[in-house]
């Protein structure tokens, strides 16, 4: 057997986005020798694309904001399917995590009194998103990257070797997690550059691999989003939760075709942009759902006043949670009131002066100017829904990020539960930091407790993993991976997209079976050195597995909630709110099981009034509620 490169660490973190970097900083700070592994160059992970901001109830712009209000908004956004414990930890710890970034060197936009400025976003009651123009993700990733460099500089001063305790392995793809009996023993992967294999011996592995969007045709996600972490974790025996909940962001670019799906940040609406149809009507007023009546304006006049006087006016319906807006746009287009290229209009040019647009939305200006030849300071944009985020992910313990398998942890978009059925804008970046840190600490504690009984990666496992990775070279004259990928994306888009139906989901599952068979015969040309055809062939297996999770869970959940809309089962069903769908590997396929949601702690329940809870809960649950007075406390 060919020689493989071998490394040994206490903790390895798969993923160098916000979650992975924060996890690595924590593990290293707690004394663990830590490796960070990522598919692209250091500093390029998907987090770099985040635009609008990071949600944290610092109360800098409106002092009424606090963690309880943030918690409440998050639960409402997720339609009460969130892991309440995660939502609680997230809301409580997000401000500390943002302030900490400043100590690493981040430079957020400021308020007049010199604090971190905060902007409005969909579903957030108060201005809450810390931001840097519309490039907040870049600031986050660069800051964490530079913090890692600073830790390496520290190590260099102490030991003469900058990489002695924290090393980044960039452009390396992990294809398998290895096991020592029931527990994790490390990971196997290949250098993208040379195609050579690498084995990491490590008792703890943190999955921070991001999302799954590349299984869909129209998406704001990059090639990295092939659901690797989801699939790797499942194959190691872990479970995924809530995979049916996929967020379609309401505003992606729709024209020209080559940029279809690229994100148009929600800040456009947060800063005053409005959605109109081909008749020039602000249609969102027709789409305020019952559960949100009372929180959103009824008239354009009131909505417009809100931007300057939020105390005395209700917010514009353009700022409803994303699932609502995406469905509304979908309906307008279906009803024949769309824009020329099958979207609707998003206009900020008639709402803000040119200079203000250039200052607040510079990347959007350039994106439209350079890619679509549209000047957003002078004309409306055309936008439509795009696959953006997966709420589902590895099922973890809220406090430690521990998955079902000893030694396995997950954080960030790859983990599930925090956002319930729908994520609020800005809640991902904060999620990455809060739970990245917790997973890093969880892994450190785990490694500290296992003592000398370290697991090892066996030769036999290495043989198997190498053979699997090389399979696409063995087959000859088989299928082209690009063709299969295109077919997968088309089916997921058409059959498991924003609006779903039983027969279509069944058709999707049938198609997935076919693709699964065909993928076994994929063959690639050339050699192992930087070969994108080969890389795609390997990623394809992960995409098919994850797509099956989504389609199966979507078929089972017979209701519409958040990022899961069933044409044949409209409306939320309180019975279904009590059910999480859990995916696990079953032979060559995926099994989905029902699992009860844990009930919220009484002090958290008390943050909502009974009337609101009655929209989500069953009669039996309501009967069990402690009697509370019905006036809504604001804190």
């Amino acid at each position: 057997m060919a020689e493989v490169e071998r490394h040994s660490y206490d903790v390895i973190v798969i993923g160098a986005g916000g979650a992975g970097l924060r996890a690595a900083i924590e593990a290293r700070s707690q004394g663990m020798r830590t490796a960070i592994i990522c598919k692209s160059l250091f500093g390029k992970a998907h987090t770099v694309m985040a635009e609008g901001g990071i949600a944290a109830a610092m109360g800098n712009v409106n002092s009424k904001d606090n963690w309880q209000v943030h918690f409440r908004d998050t639960m409402r956004g997720g339609k009460f399917m969130n892991s309440w414990r995660m939502a609680e930890l997230h809301a409580m710890e997000a401000p500390q995590r943002v302030w900490e970034l400043e100590t690493y060197g981040a430079l957020f936009d400021r308020t007049k009194d010199g604090r971190i400025s905060q902007r409005n976003f969909g579903g957030h009651e108060y201005p809450r998103l810390a931001h840097v123009g519309d490039r907040t993700g870049l600031e986050l990733i660069r800051t964490l990257q530079q913090k890692i460099v600073s830790l390496q500089q520290e190590d260099e001063r102490e030991s003469g070797d900058a990489e002695s305790r924290l090393k980044v392995f960039a452009e390396l793809t992990i294809t398998k997690l290895t096991m020592d009996g029931e527990r994790i023993s490390g990971a196997f992967g290949y250098w993208r550059e040379s195609g050579r294999f690498v084995v990491f011996d490590a008792p703890a592995v943190i999955i921070a691999t991001g999302g799954i969007g590349k299984s869909f045709k129209v998406t704001s996600n990059s090639w990295e989003y092939t659901g690797d972490g989801h699939a790797l974790a499942m194959r190691a025996g872990a479970t995924l939760v809530n995979m049916e909940f996929v967020q379609f962001h309401p505003t992606g670019m729709v024209w020209p075709p080559s940029v279809k799906g690229i994100l148009v940040t929600e800040s456009v609406r947060g800063d005053g942009g409005v959605l109109t149809n081909s008749e020039g009507k602000r249609f969102m007023f027709n789409y305020v759902p019952e559960v949100f009546r009372g929180q959103y304006a009824d008239t354009e006049a009131e909505a417009d006043r809100w931007y300057t006087d939020p105390e005395n006016n209700k917010r514009p319906p353009e700022l409803l949670p994303r699932d609502e807006v995406a469905r509304a746009i979908n309906s307008e287009v279906k009803a024949g009131r769309g824009s020329p290229h099958g979207g609707v209009f998003l206009d900020v040019s008639s709402r803000l002066p040119k200079a203000e647009i250039m200052k607040r939305l510079p990347s959007m200006y350039h994106q439209f100017k350079e890619l679509a030849d549209v000047d957003i300071t002078a004309q409306p944009m055309e936008v439509g829904p795009t696959c953006h985020y997966v709420m589902g992910g590895v099922e973890v313990e809220p406090d430690t990020g521990a998955a079902k398998v000893p030694g396995l942890f997950a954080a960030g978009e790859a983990s599930g539960g925090m956002h319930g059925s729908n994520r609020l804008g800005g809640n991902s970046l904060s999620d990455l930091l809060v739970f990245g840190r917790r997973a890093g600490a969880g892994a450190a504690e785990y490694v500290g407790a296992i003592g000398a009984t370290r697991p090892v990666v066996t030769e036999a496992e290495i043989e198997v993993a190498s053979a699997e990775a090389l399979a696409p070279f063995r087959a000859e004259g088989g299928e082209n991976p690009y063709t299969l990928h295109t077919e997968l994306q088309q089916s997921m888009n058409d059959l498991v997209g924003i609006i779903r139906r039983e027969d279509e989901l069944e058709a999707a599952l049938a198609k997935l079976e076919v693709l699964k068979e065909r993928s076994k015969a994929v063959s690639v040309e050339g050699h192992r050195q930087f070969n994108p055809g080969w890389h795609l062939a390997l990623d394809l297996n992960n995409m098919i597995t994850v797509s099956e999770c989504i389609a199966r869970a979507a078929l089972i959940r017979q209701e519409s909630r958040g990022g899961h809309t069933r044409d044949d089962h409209p409306g939320m069903n309180p019975e279904w709110r009590q059910v999480n769908l859990i995916c696990s590997i079953d032979g060559e396929g995926v099994a989905v099981n029902k699992q009860a949601l844990s009930s919220m702690r009484p002090d958290l329940l008390a943050l909502f009034d009974r009337y609101e809870l009655s929209k989500y809960m069953t009669e039996a649950e309501l009967a069990d509620l402690p009697v509370q007075d019905s006036t809504k406390g604001d804190s």
């Binding site: 900490e100 400021r110 913090k147």
Partner: protein, 253 residues
């Protein structure tokens, strides 16, 4: 409406290579990266190219298009005539790994040589207070997506491998300026810019600023102000002569 474009793409690796001709379909609104991807999907599945966001945000897809350093994902095909031959080559200042992918580790090594942000020791998280006007200067530099096109372009290293040792390139000189202008940074960074990162090599040609896809005024806002401050500390011949001819309205605020 599609047409067929004529592409010449550099294929090869560290041991050598050459330009290969291809004819590839192009559709309305497409960028060079789309066409490279079509080439990959239909004719050359093993063509190596780096990319991520395809939206000009990650700085992965740097290459040279007809000799000009560009992000392939932000380079519209309609910039070229339909019958024009478009030549795509890897960045020249960095060693080729394969095809359009280069070894940019030089940049990461230089990054590690810049001492990190050093806040006042007694300032607690949450207590940072800075005015917008004071953070704006460093914020401009933090727009950098690390595409390394500026470093690729700067003549000090583009054809002078030997200078790489002593010169960190515009990207990291700008990083030093960014920290120097950070309202709460406590280190004095002028001397290190000159002595350890080779600020003196820069003769303010502004070529770096011209290729920056983020339109950062690297030379005017980062390098020149640094040189000005260094000039107080140390003699820099280029700068001494240049400042004699300087218009007063260039003075930094």
């Amino acid at each position: 409406m599609g047409h067929n474009a004529k592409l010449r793409v550099w294929r090869g690796d560290a041991s050598g290579g050459d330009l290969k001709d291809y004819t590839v379909e192009v559709n309305e609104g497409e960028v060079v990266l789309d066409v490279i991807h079509r080439l990959q999907a239909t004719q050359t599945p093993d063509l190596a190219v780096r990319w991520n966001c395809k939206a000009g945000k990650c700085g992965s897809c740097s290459a040279e298009v007809n000799g000009r350093p560009r992000l392939m994902c932000m380079c519209q095909m309609n910039n070229f005539a339909e019958d024009e031959v478009i030549t795509i080559t890897p960045m020249r200042a960095f060693p080729v790994i394969r095809d359009l992918v280069t070894d940019v580790s030089y940049n990461y090594e230089k990054a590690r040589k810049v001492p990190s942000f050093a806040p006042p020791k007694d300032l607690a998280p949450g207590d940072y207070r800075m005015q917008q006007v004071d953070v704006e200067r460093s914020q401009e530099f933090r727009k950098c997506i690390e595409c390394f096109l500026c470093n690729n372009t700067c003549h000090v290293i583009r054809d002078h491998e030997e200078n790489k040792e002593n010169f960190s390139g515009p990207r990291f000189l700008m990083r030093i300026a960014e920290l120097d202008m950070h309202p709460l940074d406590t280190l004095d960074r002028k001397k290190m810019a000159q002595e350890e990162h080779g600020l003196g090599y820069c003769n303010i040609t502004k070529c770096c600023s011209e290729v920056c896809p983020e339109h950062i005024h690297i030379t005017d806002n980062a390098l020149i102000p640094m040189k000005e401050r260094v000039a107080d500390v140390k003699y820099d011949p280029f700068f001494a002569i240049w400042s004699l001819f300087r218009k007063p309205d260039n003075a930094k605020s």
